[in-house]
Symmetry: D2
Subunit: 150 residues, 4 copies
């Protein structure tokens, strides 16, 4: 983990906090349909931690995943730069963000942002956005200039 | 408005606060694709106000509307009962929640919850959820017991 | 039913065909997560019948409901005018389209279009779009002119 | 292209047909909001070609992308095995499927399925699903057995 932190430019305290908050956020999920709890924690470039969890709906497509709940909070609270995205589930190996959420991350983060996936037993994997969503579709394709730095 | 408040069992202070916060939240929207800002404010039965705004994506279906951003925050922060939902846009007559968001409200609110729609010039309309989404599809159809009171 | 047909400007043959096709389409659903089958059948103004069923995904929000599968087919096959929308499920009383699908219907149909909901035992309910999605949000709110007639 | 076909186990006729149909399908898109046309063509293991295009909505998240329209058709028409997925847009370099659509492809295709992305001037790129959506989230995570072969 110490080497992981160095590679990701995170302090070990930041890594530990991301782990704790993403894991703790699982208990805030509303998932009576899947019973599959997901917690998420974002670390902003200004040092703030923003959490989320999945919020499901009887009409399944109306569900909002943990990552999108967290970005919804973060963006509407004014955050624009992100240093890391952490997700936590109860399974091992750790679950990765679904494609829809990778697309959400793409809208707001640099391609190099690390995505840390914690499993239910203390283990984790890390991939950068450009690895999880290579050759991604983004605002440029629509000719729209969107990204602002914070 | 005084009579509206009586009908909706809201104090005039609550109504005014819903108006101010839903309207102010419009400025927190991320909507470079539609340029159509929507603000939302929920009032919980415990007296808390939770806001949201639309968060769009280059892949349009990955967009989260203002109402769902607000419910994502509220639910993952532990809120379960809601006294009112307010939305605000820049047009007149006021825009109503899209069908997808009415479905989201259905998951978490009583059928009698008032939905207050503020326009861009101080006017508003009010409808109850059962009027905006009659004969609604909900958790019961799936045989799932979900609603908890707060 | 004879009176229903008169009210809806449908022949009894059209009504019977909508019932048969919507019901038969349930067996084409892909719903390993909800095990809740939904069939849909659209009748176009040119007399064509277009069917669909729900297509779910391990990431629940990536699910496409039966109605949206049917409209996806119809619109990309060039159909623009619709005389009726029928949905069929296995429960009674009959399930209604979720809010997200009501919004989809709103994009492509007149407000008076009848939505026929068949239950699993031969019964049904009928409502017009303007009754299921009153005060709806549509293209006009965005200042976009979209509807074409066929 | 001849070498591409060998690598992808496609005949040059299949490749040409995928190109023609994906490109032609762009004209069936309903995209008054983005004005960004996308066409899609699937080749099933049984040799059938199924097309789709994007179908947008005034409520942006209710939009269905071209790929999901095509899979909605294919799955509800009984197809289960797929040899290739082709998408076509008007820009260059070619646009890739959004993350949400990569997740849809994941539900129904082998990880090695080729995704061919055609640009507006005759060029193209090819990636396999496992390259576009590495470490993907799928049915296994939910303990659901879903994939059937055709
Ligand atoms: Zn997700
Ligand atoms: Zn909405
Ligand atoms: Zn639906
Ligand atoms: Zn897509």
């Amino acid at each position: 983990t110490s080497q992981t932190c160095t590679t990701l430019s995170l302090t070990s305290e930041e890594f530990t906090t991301l782990h704790s908050l993403a894991t703790a956020s699982k208990s805030t999920a509303y998932c009576p349909y899947s019973n599959f709890r997901v917690g998420c924690c974002l670390l902003t470039t200004s040092g703030a931690y923003i959490t989320g969890a999945n919020v499901e709906n009887a009409s399944y497509p109306v569900t909002t995943c943990a990552e999108r709940v967290a970005f919804g909070k973060a963006i509407t609270e004014g955050h624009r730069g992100f240093k890391a995205v952490a997700v936590a589930t109860d399974i091992a190996p750790p679950a990765s963000p679904c494609g829809m959420c990778r697309q959400c991350i793409r809208e707001f983060c640099e391609l190099s942002v690390p995505i840390i996936m914690f499993d239910g037993s203390g283990g984790y994997s890390v991939m950068r956005l450009e690895e999880l969503l290579p050759l991604s579709f983004g605002p440029e394709a629509l000719g729209v200039q969107t990204r602002s730095s914070s």
